[in-house]
């Protein structure tokens, strides 16, 4: 006597993987990687503890999957928007806005990125610089393009600038999550940061 649409045990995999990813993102964000318990994730995903191991090898594998999948999403979305644009100034604006929107919309993701970047990094460090550095690489590319067009100062090191900009964005979103302080809107923030960076990067400042 199950209500229509209900499925008991044994139902086809369907979207358990996805459900676990979503739950894990939430739990990692709330408690941090090390403090999060598998059983927390299982409960959040409405799944048994053991089920998680049908989809992931271990706890770290979950974190990695969350990180890579989510970063991939943002990167693809941003790349898509950027492909329609040619002005490096406008491109930088798009990157900044998209990043902040993504972080604001998905606070959990923001946290996971921060955690993965700092803590775990340590343990596994190397073999996963893929999706993430691909993402920040977008910034460097924009800057290089601007330089070859004579719009951005040629004495700026794109690899340093990408870090400075990413760091700025990351710290701003960290505070959005971590503190109770009132904070500026995405637009205000994006404008301010864009303005700080652009005017410092443009060859011929016009404000």
């Amino acid at each position: 006597m199950k209500s229509p649409g209900f499925r008991g045990q044994g139902m086809k995999a369907e979207n358990k993987h996805a459900k676990i990813i979503v739950a894990a993102t939430k739990v990692f964000a709330k408690k941090g990687f090390f403090t999060a318990r598998i059983s927390d994730i299982a409960k959040e995903a409405k799944v048994a503890d053991g089920t998680i191991y049908l989809y992931f090898n271990n706890k770290y594998d979950i974190l990695l999957s969350v990180f890579e999948e989510e970063v991939k999403k943002i990167a693809e979305n941003t790349a898509q928007l950027l492909s329609l644009e040619t002005d490096p100034r406008r491109m930088l604006e798009i990157f900044i806005i998209q990043h902040l929107i993504a972080m604001k919309k998905n606070k959990n993701l923001a946290e996971v990125i921060q955690i993965e970047l700092r803590q775990t990094n340590k343990v596994i460090k190397d073999y996963r610089d893929n999706k993430f550095s691909e993402y920040t690489g977008i910034i460097a590319d924009i800057i290089r393009r601007g330089q070859s067009l004579g719009i951005y100062r040629s004495d700026i090191q794109p690899d340093l600038a990408k870090r400075a900009l990413f760091g700025a964005l990351d710290e701003v979103s960290r505070v959005w999550n971590a503190s109770l302080e009132t904070h500026y809107t995405v637009d205000e923030t994006a404008n301010q940061i864009l303005s700080m960076f652009l005017s410092g990067i443009q060859l011929n400042p016009e404000n």
Copy 2:
């Protein structure tokens, strides 16, 4: 028959506290807070596991102490140097250089700051925003001063700018630690970041 200056067990407390702090900084930096074992710290400090609990309440207390003491050192040192200076542009330069020097010199500290800021934050969140926000507050103060002198754009939000700048510096030093990439010197980096920020913040850009 100990050589002169040698002291066996039971020697007067002397500097055990300090020794543990130094050891803990090193170990936390290398392994991260959660992965670090008390016995690692004890071994590094050449002290018994139990001894640590004569000086600290628990593992987290060690991290907190490391964080607060080290941040305090930097903050005081920087404040001291800044007190000799009045030009907001030069002041910003000093802050940037001092921060980068401190992080480069003490990679361990850089890591601990990052860890404390992200992971643990989570757990205890509030009651320790003291030393750290005091430190980043220096940036906001410099900017405000520059604004009232008409040197920095008045439309810049000091609290946002401080985060952007701190984030940029933090991300740059994160990469110094985390990656194997060749990276720029402190001076190069400081110049670049200062230049990016200053030209974006100055009312009348002159380069």
